[in-house]
């Protein structure tokens, strides 16, 4: 019989004792969270925590990722933008005050705003429009496609720009309004700092925009800082400086917010923190409209889903209502349409697949291959939970279902060979570049788009999308959606909102919400008096 030596006993005591302070700290931290926060700043500094570095240089012709749009939309401006904080897509003026579109959607005539200057003092004129478009094509970033169809930019005077496209494009205004859309950059600055790479090196740490803020600090992985541009044409906010410290860990970001070192967090907290911030006394939670959704895509190259019947059976087994309630909570609502919320007025693009678990049950009995893998991206806790719940449901139906995590680069690699991917993939939060149904359908349904992970494609859908792009006809978009739904490769699970937590003294958070960017126009924020 084994007896513990005094040393072993001591180690066991120490190991047990190690748990006690940890548990005490955990208990203390929950209690302490309700009592802190920070008072309104008197030094004009707003601190907005970033979860993870922005990932790419803050160059508007390169940046095509996530949280860095906070910097892009506050330092640069495009000709148009999306109207803030509305539930549907509305184009609004920005550097263009008005515009006309030719009936054939090839000529866009913009009247530009007077009295705008770039941060280097250069006046903004129509000449900058062509320079911006040309640079975007030369740099050839991910969003260069938005101006590749531009045949010419005429500038009859300093405040008029006439853009002619080489083919009809009803989504062109959406592309210009997109947070990833072409932004006006100082032609003087682009020439001065061109170097050998079209000023890409310069714009890693500086900006050449017209926006309410200038990029004055860019330390990758550490922090970014924006300083107010005192000659800005628009609203001058009480915040002279926006500090954007980078946090690698969401728990530490939360602690920093609770302590008051961070005044606002946008689109970075997990759903598990919803309950906590619904009751904190110093903080307000906002659920703001976006174009983002949770999606489920099915892989037709896998043997389980080789037939449309199998794919439809699987999608019929998905109880969207329960999943949204259990996992996503107040930040989401059940999706009922094929496109993002509000893209097709009146919801004519309704999803027709109804929840009926009996279909999958009877299919499972007949299926020869009962193995199924449901994938989700590493770090996406919501998608992970959804995948686990779905897998559990399918196991009850007699399917050997498992949930598996995949790194971001692996997810992107499936398009090279879809057979290497899982049977289905839960995308916890994704969205198009802009508010046009074309931008949604093209990116998710067209195999040449960017987020059709498994290359499930219907040529009829592609054809209808291209037709709709030329005319803007919503009924054609609806037909395109119906054609794609019949493939059984896709289901929109939820419309996701941008969950922002902000200290109570911060005002107009909802009014500052930039649809499409999931970030805020900082110049529109204020301090409660």
């Amino acid at each position: 019989m084994h007896h513990m030596t005094p040393q072993h006993r001591m180690r066991a005591v120490i190991a047990t004792a190690a748990l006690i302070p940890m548990l005490a700290l955990a208990a203390c931290s929950n209690g302490a969270a309700a009592k802190t926060g920070n008072p309104a700043p008197t030094n004009g500094v707003l601190t907005v925590g970033l979860l993870g570095d922005i990932g790419q240089p803050p160059d508007p012709d390169i940046y095509y990722a996530n949280n860095g749009t906070a910097i892009i939309i506050n330092t640069y401006e495009g000709l148009v933008q999306y109207k803030n904080n509305v539930n549907d897509v509305q184009i609004a003026p920005r550097l263009a005050t008005s515009w006309t579109v030719s009936p054939d959607k090839t000529v866009y005539n913009f009247t530009l705003r007077k009295g705008v200057t770039f941060h280097d003092g250069t006046p903004f004129t129509s000449a900058a429009v062509k320079v911006a478009f040309d640079r975007r094509i030369a740099v050839k970033g991910g969003a260069a496609y938005m101006v590749e169809g531009v045949k010419s930019v005429d500038t009859p005077d300093d405040l008029t720009a006439v853009v002619t496209l080489d083919a009809p494009n009803s989504a062109f205004l959406d592309e210009l309004a997109s947070p990833f859309g072409p932004k006006m950059e100082s032609p003087t600055g682009l020439t001065k700092y061109a170097g050998s790479d079209n000023a890409q090196t310069y714009l890693m740490t500086h900006d050449l925009g017209t926006g309410p803020y200038m990029l004055t600090t860019a330390q990758t992985g550490t922090k970014y800082e924006l300083t107010q541009y005192d000659k800005y044409w628009g609203t001058i906010s009480p915040f002279k400086t926006i500090k954007l410290p980078v946090y690698s860990d969401s728990s530490v970001l939360e602690l920093a917010y609770d302590k008051g070192d961070v005044s606002m967090i946008a689109a970075a907290l997990p759903s598990s923190a919803l309950k906590k911030y619904s009751t904190t006394s110093y903080s307000t939670s906002y659920f703001l409209p976006t174009l983002q959704s949770a999606l489920i895509t099915v892989n037709p190259s896998k043997s389980f889903f080789a037939t449309v019947d199998a794919r439809m059976a699987f999608l019929s087994a998905i109880d969207k209502k329960t999943l949204v309630k259990q996992v996503l909570g107040a930040r989401s609502e059940v999706a009922t349409t094929m496109y993002a919320k509000g893209m097709i007025a009146g919801g004519a693009d309704a999803q027709s697949i109804r929840y009926d678990p009996s279909i999958m049950k009877s299919y499972a009995k007949k299926a020869s291959d009962k193995n199924l893998v449901i994938g989700y991206a590493t770090g996406n806790t919501n998608a992970q939970q959804i995948a686990n719940i779905l897998a559990a449901q399918l196991i009850a139906d007699g399917i050997n279902a498992t949930a598996e995590t995949f790194t971001t680069s692996t997810v992107f690699g499936w398009a090279n060979d879809p057979t290497t991917g899982p049977d289905a993939f839960i995308d916890g939060n994704n969205g198009p570049d802009g508010g046009s149904p074309y931008l949604w359908g093209h990116v998710f349904w067209d195999k040449t788009g960017g987020i059709n992970y498994f290359l499930c494609d219907n040529p009829k859908t592609d054809d209808l999308l291209n037709k709709a792009l030329a005319t803007g006809d919503k009924s054609t978009y609806v037909k395109a959606a119906a054609a794609y739904e019949s493939m059984g490769c896709y289901m929109q699970l939820s419309y996701n909102k941008d969950w922002v937590v902000a200290q109570n003294w911060l005002t107009n958070v909802a009014g500052a919400q930039n649809l499409g960017a999931n970030e805020l126009d900082f110049s529109l924020l204020g301090i409660k008096k």
Binding site: A26, I62, Y145, P245, Y247, S248, L255, T407
Partner: protein, 328 residues
């Protein structure tokens, strides 16, 4: 000595060549696609294919490996697919932060280890409590220890920061401890030490115990040796006996363990840097892996490999210095 160093250099080159080959091979069979990280998640298929061609990623693996080696010889590790900057430039930003953290943690570990060992070997009253605290800390996983430390010292007590390095780095070295002193920024120096303390402690505790135990064992063994008793009986002071006779003859194994632990610390920074948002190569690597940023991953691996090899070489030299009977 020179022959030995030359031999070590040769072995280092061979090891790094093998290491880079392994990384390349693993990358070539990885299903990940790094081009999307370069262009952006929504980039079209056509753009991805075009960029892959421009980056040379559609070339045969052996051709890519050859290009990589040629670049390496010229000091070019390529451009990070994520940051779009040359990897060497990223290292200039991130590597000093990691080296500073690890060196600080290492010195802290040595201090803790020496006090651990001496207090135990000399039976200092009350030292078992101190050793108990260290053992508790070493038992907890680094992630938990880090979060626990942040909750206690940052959230509850408000005495230490939770993230970052502190003041802005105005150069010239990239090591804030040095740069703040060079620039006469005394508050900045203090802030730098404050920011180093918690992540340094988390990184130091487990190595401190490992080194301390070895040292303690050596000390206890040496203290009971005849020559030590002789030295004491000759009237030599306790301190002098400890430093001149006991420590010198006990330190060999501890130096070996220290070298080993220093290597482990460089590996351990990934978790610590993530929790504390420390802008070092651990964080850089953690951000690069999910997007298959091969130039960055290869660069970090080679740098860490080189540091590990150099560290072991230095340890061997120190051991030889401590014990001339050993051939360096």
């Amino acid at each position: 000595m020179i022959t030995s160093l030359a031999k070590r250099l040769g072995i280092t080159v061979v090891l790094l060549f093998i290491l880079s080959g392994i990384i390349f091979f693993l990358q070539s069979i990885s299903p990940g696609d790094p081009v999307k990280a370069y262009l952006g998640a929504n980039a079209s298929r056509a753009d991805v294919l075009s960029e892959r061609h421009r980056l040379g990623l559609d070339q045969p693996t052996i051709v890519q490996f050859g290009g990589f080696l040629v670049g390496l010889v010229h000091g070019d590790l390529g451009v990070s697919y994520r940051t779009h900057r040359p990897v060497f430039k990223d290292f200039a930003t991130y590597l000093p932060a990691t080296i500073e953290l690890v060196v600080f943690a290492f010195l802290l570990a040595i201090l803790l280890a020496v006090t651990f060992a001496f207090s135990a070997a000399l039976r200092v009253p009350g030292s078992s409590f101190y050793r108990g605290i260290l053992l508790v800390g070493a038992t907890a996983p680094p992630f938990l220890l880090a979060i626990g430390g942040i909750v206690l010292f940052y959230q509850q007590l408000g005495v230490l920061p939770a993230s970052g390095r502190g003041p802005d780095d105005r150069g010239p070295t990239g090591f804030l401890v040095i740069d703040t002193l060079v620039n006469g920024d005394i508050p900045g120096f203090g802030s730098t030490l404050q920011h180093l303390l918690l992540p340094g402690l988390v990184l130091a505790i487990a190595p401190a115990i490992s080194i301390g135990r070895i040292l303690r064992s050596s000390l206890e063994s040496t203290l009971s040796a005849d020559y030590v008793r002789t030295a004491r009986s000759k009237g030599l002071g306790r301190g002098r006996v400890l430093i001149k006779h006991v420590l010198r003859n006990s330190i060999g194994p501890a130096i070996s363990m220290s070298g080993l632990q220093l290597g482990f610390m460089f590996a351990g920074v990934v978790v610590v840097e993530q929790v504390f948002s420390w802008p070092g190569i651990g964080n850089y690597l953690a951000s690069s892996i999910p997007v298959s940023d091969f130039p960055a991953i290869a660069g970090v691996t080679l740098v860490l490999g080189t540091i590990y090899i150099i560290t072991n070489a230095v340890v061997d030299l120190l051991q030889a210095a401590a014990d001339p009977r050993l051939v360096a």
